[in-house]
């Protein structure tokens, strides 16, 4: 596998753990600024401190060695930010700024995770989901089977390319696979081709 601890030490990986920081932010004094300082504010405004943190992490370190190129920003997960009191628009703004900094300025990628309950109850979350779907180039949608729980097929993955000139994509730009999760890996197979029924 990949040694994330080593990667973190040499500066390849920058990691901000929300859960642990939230405790610090919540119980410490007001003084020092923190990427997640909206947690202690009465009405959570925006994610500007978090964006500053991302920018800071992207800055090239000039200590002789070659700078890391093509950064990837992983956010897990954006829906939690809504639970913490931020508005969908604030989260969308944050992603928009990050897109400019990561994707455009540095030719990198952004990968984010959003929940989708699918029943349209959570309006804020739907705004976020639709807004992100509109901006993204590739959408992976994991969902349970419509027919209910199955021991050998855990769900299906819909892949949707939104860039038209994708040579590998099907004509309509989408593919569906079913999957089964194992201990350390996931096996994918075409629809209806589970080993259980063959």
């Amino acid at each position: 596998g990949v040694n994330l601890t080593a990667a973190r030490e040499c500066g390849q990986l920058v990691f901000l753990e929300g859960l642990k920081s939230s405790v610090d932010v919540f119980f410490r004094a007001q003084a020092e600024p923190h990427p997640l300082q909206f947690l202690r504010e009465a009405d959570a405004g925006n994610l500007q401190p978090l964006y500053e943190f991302v920018r800071e992490a992207l800055k090239p370190v000039d200590d002789g060695q070659a700078a890391w190129r093509c950064p990837v920003l992983l956010v897990d997960d954006l829906s939690v930010l809504l639970s913490l009191g931020l508005g969908a628009v604030a989260v969308l703004d944050f992603i928009h700024y990050c897109r400019v900094a990561v994707c455009w300025e540095r030719k990198g990628n952004i990968v984010t995770l959003v929940h989708d309950s699918g029943d349209g109850e959570d309006e804020e979350n739907d705004i976020l989901l639709n807004g992100l779907s509109h901006q993204s180039h590739l959408i992976l949608r994991a969902e349970g089977l419509a027919t209910g729980f199955c021991r050998d097929v855990h769900g299906q993955l819909r892949i949707l390319w939104r860039t038209p000139s994708q040579p590998t994509a099907q004509r309509d730009g989408s593919l569906t696979y079913q999957y089964k999760i194992q201990d350390k890996s996931v096996s994918f197979f075409a629809k209806g081709m589970s080993p259980a029924v063959l």
Partner: protein
């Protein structure tokens, strides 16, 4: 201390435990490794805290929920540092029972308790804990209670439902190690001396309310903020965060929060759909989880989800908890008179199980589970099995079946029955 006392009896009565297991028709197969070492938790190197054991699947430290049948459904127990959310049944009868089982299990194992409530005084809650069925007398009580219901059908074997015979019994009796997970007698109270010997902290919201003078601006409801500060203080002062490890023997903090989200906590999510502080509850859960993750503690929360107006909040709360179990009692519903459910008091839904250090969790095949409260015991049973359409169909390969049963943890001794050959 209570921990020392129970450990002593446990080691002394190994003989009686063996006798009990053989009587209940459990195999003599004993797993070496984590579980075996859990048996003598007092002196083992692996498990140094009473009432805990490492998970066979991912090595996480587990504590019992106080209901061995539920432990088994949740993959062996509740991982330390996680939240168990119980969705209350409509009249809060059975959920408060689970709540008390969780606390009683802590008292038996000598864990420190933190009880928070806005409705009852924590001291009163402790007085009403069920009595443990320990060693000799539990066997008698248990057999008595089980036999009353089981004997009639043990003689008549339904040939048509032979798949059911091979199954491990979910509610089967006390298994090898009685140090992890105990049975409780819901009809009796916990002995007074055990409660007095235990260490506990109470948070009674109406009492803390009086000191609301300087409300600093904060997005959290007053009650939630007070409670978080209280929990943080206890964790910090008693060293559950591992800040001063050499101070004393490590212990587990069991946190119980009753009726979280109800109007009694000063939360208005139960009253209107679009309320001002709808983020209070989710924010509280997030910070609470951050606290738990960095300390030796486990938390049970009961929440009246049927009162919460907005479905969106329930979905968010579920996402922010680790394990979610829903209770649905038949009282007052038309199912009460339905002959299908006549043996049961309600349904139990396992809504979410955390994936810790692993991609999958211990998933049991059966999603239809029902519970009933017998005279003394709370039991969980399968309603019916799903159709057998897997790639490892059980009748063709018993080998796989036996393997999968090993993963299920304790209480699957009935798999011995899988050895008898079935020819068609």
């Amino acid at each position: 201390m209570a921990a020392v006392a129970t450990c002593g009896t446990g080691v002394g009565s190994t003989g009686s435990i063996v006798a009990a297991t053989s009587k209940n028709n459990v195999t003599s197969f004993q797993r070496k490794g984590p579980r075996a070492s859990g048996t003598d938790s007092g002196c083992s190197r692996l498990v140094s805290i009473a009432g805990t054991r490492p998970s066979v699947r991912n090595g996480q430290l587990l504590v019992s929920t106080g209901l061995p049948a539920l432990d088994q459904l949740l993959g062996g127990g509740l991982a330390v540092g996680t939240v168990l959310l119980i969705e209350e049944d409509k009249y809060n009868i059975y959920s408060s029972l689970l709540f008390k089982y969780f606390l009683a299990e802590g008292i038996i194992n000598g864990h420190t308790l933190l009880v928070a409530s806005a409705k009852e005084d924590p001291a009163d809650i402790l007085q009403e804990l069920p009595a443990p069925l320990l060693d000799d007398n539990y066997k008698k009580d248990f057999d008595e209670d089980v036999c009353n219901h089981q004997t009639p059908d043990s003689n008549i074997k339904m040939k048509i439902a032979w798949r059911y015979q091979l199954l491990p019994k979910i509610e089967s009796g006390p298994v090898s190690s009685s140090r992890f997970g105990h049975y409780y007698d819901a009809s009796k109270r916990m002995p007074q001396e055990l409660i007095e010997a235990s260490k506990w902290h109470g948070f009674f919201f109406p009492e803390k309310l009086s000191s609301t003078l300087n409300i600093e601006p904060c997005s959290l409801t007053h009650g939630y903020r007070k409670l978080l500060q209280f929990i943080q203080k206890v964790i910090y002062e008693e060293g559950f965060d591992g800040s001063n490890p050499q101070k004393k023997q490590k212990n587990i903090l069991r946190i119980g929060i009753q009726n979280l989200g109800s109007p009694l906590w000063g939360d208005d999510i139960c009253c209107t759909e679009n309320c001002d502080n709808s983020h209070s509850l989710t924010k509280f859960l997030y910070v609470l989880r951050g606290l738990l993750r960095t300390s030796l503690s486990a938390c049970i929360i009961t929440m009246p989800t049927h009162l919460i107006q907005s479905k969106a909040i329930i979905a968010r709360v579920t996402n922010l908890s680790d394990t979610v179990v829903g209770l649905e009692s038949f009282i007052g519903s038309e199912r009460e008179t339905n002959p299908l459910y006549k043996d049961y008091h309600g349904l139990i839904h396992i809504r979410q199980i955390p994936r810790l250090n692993n991609l999958i969790y211990d998933v049991s095949d059966v999603k239809d589970l029902a519970f009933k409260l017998k005279r003394k015991l709370f039991t969980i049973e399968r309603l019916h099995l799903p159709p057998d359409l897997s790639d490892t169909v059980s009748r063709s390969s018993k080998q796989d079946l036996a393997e999968s049963s090993k993963l299920l943890g304790p209480g699957c001794g009935m798999m011995a029955g899988g050895k008898q050959h079935l020819d068609f």
